[in-house]
């Protein structure tokens, strides 16, 4: 309460600084434009320009001069800062200071989904809000300001943290003694963006990350079209976007992987975003550097997990344990790799933790100059300001006065000046009385030990090495103590003393009878020194152990990409998948990432020779229908979403990539889900575990898109479906509508007329032009037939029907149309439309001449597709050769990658699996899985990896237990759940 009152009092004084032309009715005019000279200080004009014994001259809130020989005006107030340091105060470029985020509107769960925007006269999507100018919503938050001042901040940039394009920010001084008229240094500073929707609208689109990405692209295209005057309507959002285009563009990514995604969008439109990261940049530092972006980095280092209960501790992944250990190195790694970054308090629960965490980052190797730059000159540069973040003449007088090196934990921050106004954090006139004293009182000698800093110094008393219960306080230069009487412990001596420069403290004592006498306390110098030396030694010895990062940074990650090797398999049973068929006692040579030779008795120098006697060599398995390794699956919020692509959201960190490799899979198509008739574009990737998302995607990748039919797209299991279409009848008309529009669009584009670039129609036009291919989720024969007819009407072919469980009913028509089938081996009975699904489907389609693949649509099944292929031998009597092609060459053909992969043929990519036995057998296990000559899975290496994981987990667990036992902070264990996606996952 007392604190609050004081604070109030403090605020009242600020009314003094009213604007000069305002009427004045509360007294006479009291101009205050004195000059203050801070002398004899070590001054950090910039992090790299430091002067000793310098003078800083401040007037009217600005620096008027700084240097070693500054002439001090006669009327200047002089503050002697001998032995003290002056730094420019810190800047946080990413905050929501004083701007409340709107609350998400709670809706009726039974209400229909909202497809339309709520605003009128703005962009069609409510989550694009560049017109937001938060000045009207800004309320100076004095409490938060105080916390930030304590942490050393003087200026923050703040904005409305809401929406995909969020509008402009405000540059605000944290001066608590003035008004917004002075505090707001800039009311349009930077434009902010993110991938997250606004809370202000319930408009559904975008319903996924890839939708957000597509929407951003479309917005930029539409802005271009609008500004060229091509539309009749008014769009205040697009106009605002244009106004903001010369501001710094700050993109909230929140993680390294989203940083890459954001940077890519920027590259496409010639915008270099400044990216707000996630603190995990060290995990892919080369890719982070390659963005060339400046970063704003949070330093929210996690507490150790409480692993004392092993039943709970087992849930924590090695990835999370490692991050506890490695995160504090993030700023250091960024600095050492030449990435320019600033630091932010964003995502910290308490601003108080900022100081502690930056000290931790420095302990973990961050260079102090870089740290200071990250808090001063870099954020100033991000915001395009030269008059903050430094103490050059003309800059704002925003500075810190400290007892020494600002990042040293022992240093005290005395004052944080904002716009030339003083804020006392710790009174620099308070004597530091810490130490051990011999306290003489009534003939006895006590040990008094005083610890702590500034006004927070504490005293503990001992007599003959036994603790004495006593009270100690140190305030305004006075010590007050209550010590039990030596005769009666329920009665007390009260001691007082004023601290002077003398090494001995002398004071008055009032005993239990009210009689006064003297007491004294003399500092014990030697003892104190020894102790601090010991402590220092300990501190220095505890340089933290940091475990190495792997790619990805999970248990089964790789230290580096496997080397491309020349490998010779000797004497294997080779299933070529080509006209040569299955060959006994045959050798396979792979070289330079390609299959170099297949034959008998191959010998070659320098090759790694593997005796494959009794073993099988095949091409790697290809899964035509997968949803692993992606961050989202369905952009479900519109009936057509041809504008989105899985390529934008490939997740290279998914451990299911490794598990697929262990099942002999080398390539997959990551398909969009089946929530809408026209879905999103695919990503076709190779499972190069450890690579980044871009390097997983095929070079010159064939272009595919997902379509879907049946129960999912007509929202059969939704209680409140209002989206067109709700029947198979509507699905047909929707396709015809979209393809008709795409055709018109394409015609206009080709005619050379100006046209509005529309990513959706652009994609559909590619289909009509036979540049992009459809893989269509399908079940019953009627709709299968329908889609083929629609395609024929527009003169193109459906490439693949996926699932296609009733394909056997129209296999002849499929053959005639030229479409392939990619099906489940034996799934059925999970919904009404699969009543007639039969495991003989693959065989019947194959027998009618359709190219047939067996797919998974499932992270579990995908790692044993060999078994699923074998089921076609059981059901329908496929030959083993043809059965095997259903998971290798046939899906390669359906994906248009059979020129590179899918069979063992000289010149094709060396995507090869070594099996212990016939790969169609339930007893088959991959021993090695190789992609382009690099061994990504090796059954023996895997065993070693398990041991390494066990050892590393134990090591980290012990480190965390050590932390807990020594009083460190811990948090309850947590498990990061990787959601497993299917066609129907709405994400």
């Amino acid at each position: 309460m007392k604190k609050h009152l004081l604070w109030l009092l403090f605020l009242c004084t600020s009314i003094l600084s009213a604007q000069e032309y305002f009427p004045k009715d509360d007294g006479v005019k009291t101009p205050n434009n004195k000059t203050i000279a801070f002398t004899k200080a070590t001054i950090y004009i910039t992090p790299t320009n430091v002067i000793k014994n310098g003078t800083l001259l401040v007037k009217n809130g600005k620096v008027v001069n700084v240097g070693r020989s500054v002439s001090i005006p006669k009327d200047a107030q002089i503050v002697n800062l001998e032995g003290k340091n002056i730094y420019p105060s810190f800047i946080d470029a990413y905050t929501d200071f004083g701007i409340a985020k709107p609350k998400r509107q709670r809706g009726n769960p039974n209400a229909s989904p909202q497809y339309e925007p709520e605003r009128k006269g703005y962009y069609w999507n409510d989550h694009i809000r560049p017109e937001t100018n938060p000045i009207a919503d800004f309320k100076f938050d004095a409490k938060k300001a105080k916390d930030l001042l304590k942490a050393g901040f003087g200026v923050v940039n703040t904005h409305m943290q809401d929406g995909i394009i969020r509008g402009n920010g405000l540059l605000v001084s944290l001066n608590t003694q003035t008004t917004n008229a002075y505090r707001v240094l800039e009311d349009k500073s930077a434009q902010y963006l993110s991938f997250t929707k606004s809370n202000k609208s319930r408009q559904m689109y975008p319903g996924s990350l890839m939708g957000s990405i597509a929407l951003l692209r479309q917005t930029y295209n539409d802005a271009d079209w609008y500004l060229k005057g091509n539309t009749k309507n008014k769009d205040l959002a697009l106009e605002a976007l244009d106004r903001n285009k010369n501001l710094p563009q700050i993109f909230y990514a929140g993680s390294k992987i989203n940083a890459f995604r954001a940077d890519k969008i920027g590259d496409e439109f010639g915008i270099q975003y400044t990216i707000v990261g996630g603190g995990d940049e060290f995990e892919r530092i080369n890719d982070v550097r390659a963005t060339n972006a400046t970063f704003i980095i949070p330093i929210n280092f996690r507490a150790a997990y409480d692993v004392s209960n092993p039943y709970l501790a087992q849930h924590v992944s090695l990835h999370d344990m490692r991050k506890w250990n490695q995160e504090p190195t993030n700023p250091k790694v960024l600095a050492e790799n030449g990435v320019t970054f600033s630091l932010t308090t964003h995502s910290l629960k308490k601003v108080d933790d900022f100081t502690k965490n930056i000290q931790k980052a420095i302990k973990y190797g961050l260079d102090k100059t870089k740290a200071l730059e990250a808090l001063t000159t870099v954020p100033a540069k991000i915001l395009g300001k030269s008059n903050i973040g430094n103490l050059q003449t003309g800059s704002y007088a925003n500075f810190l006065i400290t007892s020494g090196d600002i990042f040293d934990p022992k240093t005290t921050l005395y004052e944080n000046w904002t716009l030339g106004d003083k804020n006392v954090i710790n009174d620099m006139n308070v004597k530091d009385i810490a130490g051990n004293y011999a306290l003489a009182l009534n003939g006895k000698t006590y040990d008094l030990s005083i610890t702590g800093k500034g006004a927070k110094q504490k005293g503990a008393l001992k007599l003959d090495d036994k603790k004495v219960k006593s009270k100690f306080s140190f305030k305004d230069g006075w010590i007050f103590m209550s010590i039990p009487s030596e005769n009666d412990a329920t009665k007390f001596n009260r001691l007082t003393a004023k601290i002077t420069d003398s090494p001995v403290i002398l004071g008055k004592v009032i005993n239990e009878f009210g009689n006064e006498s003297q007491w004294s306390a003399a500092k014990i110098v030697k003892k104190d020194d020894e102790k601090s030396k010991d402590k220092k030694k300990k501190d220095n010895n505890s340089t933290p152990t940091v475990l190495p990062v792997s790619y990805p940074n999970v248990g089964f990650g790789l230290a580096q990409q496997p080397k491309q090797e020349t490998i010779l398999f000797k004497n294997a049973t080779v299933w070529t998948g080509e006209k040569e068929g299955n060959l006994e006692n045959t050798d396979v040579l792979i070289k330079n990432g390609k299959i170099a030779k297949i034959g008998k008795n191959i010998s070659v120098g320098g090759a790694k020779t593997i005796d494959a006697t009794g073993k099988y060599v095949t091409a790697g398995i290809i899964d035509e229908h997968s949803h692993i390794a992606t961050t989202s699956v369905n952009e479900w919020a519109q009936n057509s979403t041809a504008e989105v692509t899985i390529e934008d959201v490939v997740d290279p960190n998914d451990v299911n990539i490794y598990r697929n490799l262990a099942g002999g899979v080398t390539s997959i198509q990551i398909l969009h889900g089946s929530a809408n008739p026209i879905g999103g574009r695919s990503a076709i990737i190779k499972l190069k575990w450890g690579e980044n998302a871009d390097n997983l995607i095929y070079n010159n990748t064939p272009k595919f898109i997902k379509f879907a039919l049946g129960e999912n797209v007509k929202q059969s299991r939704s209680r409140n479906g209002t989206r067109f279409p709700q029947t198979r009848m509507g699905v047909e008309q929707m396709y015809i509508d979209y393809f008709t529009r795409a055709k018109q669009y394409d015609a206009k584009k080709k005619s050379g007329q100006a046209y509005r670039k529309d990513a959706e129609l652009e994609t559909l036009a590619e289909i009509i032009n036979k540049e992009r291919f459809i893989s269509c989720h399908s079940y019953v024969q009627s709709e299968i037939n329908m889609l083929m007819k629609v395609a024929e009407k527009f003169d193109f072919n459906i490439n693949t029907f996926t699932h296609i469980l009733e394909g056997y009913k129209v296999a002849d028509k499929m053959k005639e149309h030229g479409v392939g089938g990619s099906t489940f081996s034996d799934w059925w009975a999970y919904k009404y439309e699969v009543n007639d699904a039969i495991p003989y489907n693959a065989a019947i389609m194959h027998n009618q001449g359709v190219t047939v693949a067996i797919n998974s649509d499932d992270a579990e099944m995908s790692r044993r597709l060999n078994q699923e292929a074998a089921k076609t031998v059981k059901y329908g009597g496929m030959s083993e050769e043809e059965a095997w092609k259903m998971v290798t060459l046939n899906p390669a053909k359906l994906l248009h990658i059979d020129n590179k992969v899918g069979s063992l043929k000289v010149g094709k990519d060396a995507d090869v699996v070594l099996w212990n036995t016939n790969p169609l057998s339930v007893y088959a296990k991959p021993l090695k899985t190789i992609i382009e000559g690099r061994t990504y899975f090796d059954i023996d290496a895997d065993l070693a990896k398990r041991e390494a994981i066990k050892a590393e987990r134990s090591k980290l667990e012990n480190m965390m237990l050590h932390e807990k036992i020594n009083g460190g902070k811990v948090q309850p264990p947590s498990k990061r759940v990787k959601e497993l996606f299917h066609c129907e996952t709405l994400k």
């Binding site: 039943y311 992944s317 034996d826 009975a829 099944m861 947590s974 959601e979």
Partner: protein, 432 residues
């Protein structure tokens, strides 16, 4: 291709003899299966075997070289394999038809303690999903209700019957319960936040509740029962040893608590279902002679750092410790996937288990665990003639091709909704 034609021809021939779904009549004529490799289900194999059965019972198991009169129809099974009918525990087979159609599902009742809820009366002998089991060798299942803390009472059925009464192999064989978890999760994991794991606040309370429920049931059963309590009546068998308690539980702590508590309350016939951490409490299981109904082999590891093949190896780990193990189906698409049980056994064999030992998981071990080993589970004289012939190794999908199948000596139709469609559409193209 040749294979394909033969198989079609074969299926056409039996198709004309038996109508779909019509259960076979009681065995009236004797059968002899000669020349097959007989996998007895107890670990033994007889190459070139001779098996005979009459009146629904096996009368002879031996070597074909033995000079003994062949009885009835002789099936030449040279180069083929004969197995006891496969038995799968813990499945909702017959309790539902199409997952997404609620009207077709009868698998979970509302309520916490439902021992009186009996799966058998909802078991649908006419299910298209049920008939699809037989061509893979799955002939007996434990049809089990889901939900609640005590889910209800399961029964064991054979898969060729006119109605549920005819289907019964053992009625009300066990009561199933889901053991409470000692940990609770919070955090919106679907929104990308981590799930925070905490010790469950309610664990002890939930255990106490269960404990006192058992005590109340015991007290009731000792009393005069003037006012009937249906759930307590349904638990009689647990205390007199005529019924087993199947505890669905995975964690090391939970398994230990489950065994300790159940024993203390006088329940002696316990089966652990799932048993994810069973290997860690193997000694306790062995000491108390408690078997484990494992999950399907075809599942993902539980955690990012777990060995990719741990789900494939669990059977080997437990068998090596001396635990009796079988396979259960609980989980996604469990009904239609029950026909894949032989391949789960095969996968367990691929990852360490001896093949005959793997076979036991769905034959003799399953019979023992379900308490029907006096009748089925092995090829032995005096046991039910519930068996089948496969062209090759029936644990391998590549060679599992069932050609003759019998339940109690009754020769089964291997027709299904699926084979009929197959034939219908193969014929369509043939005749075009």
């Amino acid at each position: 291709m040749k294979n394909y034609i033969y198989t079609i021809a074969f299926l056409l021939s039996i198709g004309s003899l038996f109508a779909q779904q019509t259960p076979a009549p009681k065995q009236s004529a004797d059968y002899t299966i000669e020349g097959a490799t007989a996998h007895l289900g107890n670990g033994q194999v007889i190459e070139n075997s001779l098996i005979m059965f009459s009146n629904g019972k096996i009368t002879h198991v031996g070597n074909a070289l033995t000079k003994i009169a062949r009885r009835g129809t002789v099936i030449d099974a040279k180069g083929k394999h004969v197995y006891p009918g496969f038995i799968v525990a813990n499945t909702t087979l017959g309790l539902g038809e199409v997952d997404a159609v609620k009207a077709s599902i009868d698998e979970r009742e509302i309520g916490t303690y439902n021992p009186h809820i009996r799966s058998i009366i909802a078991y649908n002998t006419e299910s298209k999903v049920v008939e699809s089991m037989r061509p893979n060798g799955v002939l007996i299942v434990q049809t089990t209700p889901r939900g609640g803390t005590i889910s209800g009472t399961s029964s064991i059925v054979q898969l060729d019957a006119w109605n549920w009464e005819d289907a019964i192999v053992k009625e009300n064989d066990a009561i199933h319960m889901n053991w409470p978890s000692s940990v609770s999760y919070s955090g919106r994991w679907w929104a990308g936040e981590p799930r925070v794991v905490k010790e469950s606040k309610n664990y002890t309370e939930n255990l106490n509740k269960f404990s006192s429920y058992l005590q109340q049931a015991k007290t009731y059963l000792k009393g005069n029962k003037s006012e009937k309590n249906l759930p307590f009546e349904a638990m009689k068998g647990l205390f007199n040893g005529s019924q087993k308690l199947f505890i669905h539980v995975s964690g090391e702590r939970e398994i230990t608590d489950a065994i300790t508590l159940s024993k203390k309350e006088g329940i002696n016939k316990i089966v652990i279902v799932h048993g994810g951490d069973a290997d860690k409490v193997a000694d306790l299981l062995v000491k108390n002679n408690i078997p484990v109904v494992l999950e399907r082999a075809h599942r993902l590891p539980n955690a990012e750092d777990q060995d990719y093949d741990l789900p494939y190896r669990t059977a080997k780990i437990l068998v090596d410790k001396g635990i009796t193990v079988s396979i259960g189906m609980e989980g996604d698409m469990e009904r239609m996937s029950t026909r894949n049980a032989p391949f789960y056994a095969g996968t367990y064999a691929a990852y360490g288990l001896d093949k005959e030992e793997a076979l036991k998981l769905i034959t003799s071990n399953a019979a023992k665990i379900l308490g029907i080993d006096d009748k089925v589970g092995t090829l032995e004289v005096g046991k039910d003639a519930t068996l089948f012939v496969s062209e090759g190794d029936a644990l391998d999908m590549r060679t599992n091709k069932v050609s003759n199948s019998f339940i109690n000596g009754r020769k089964l139709s291997l027709e299904t909704h699926q084979t009929k469609l197959w034939k219908r559409y193969s014929d369509k193209y043939k005749n075009q």
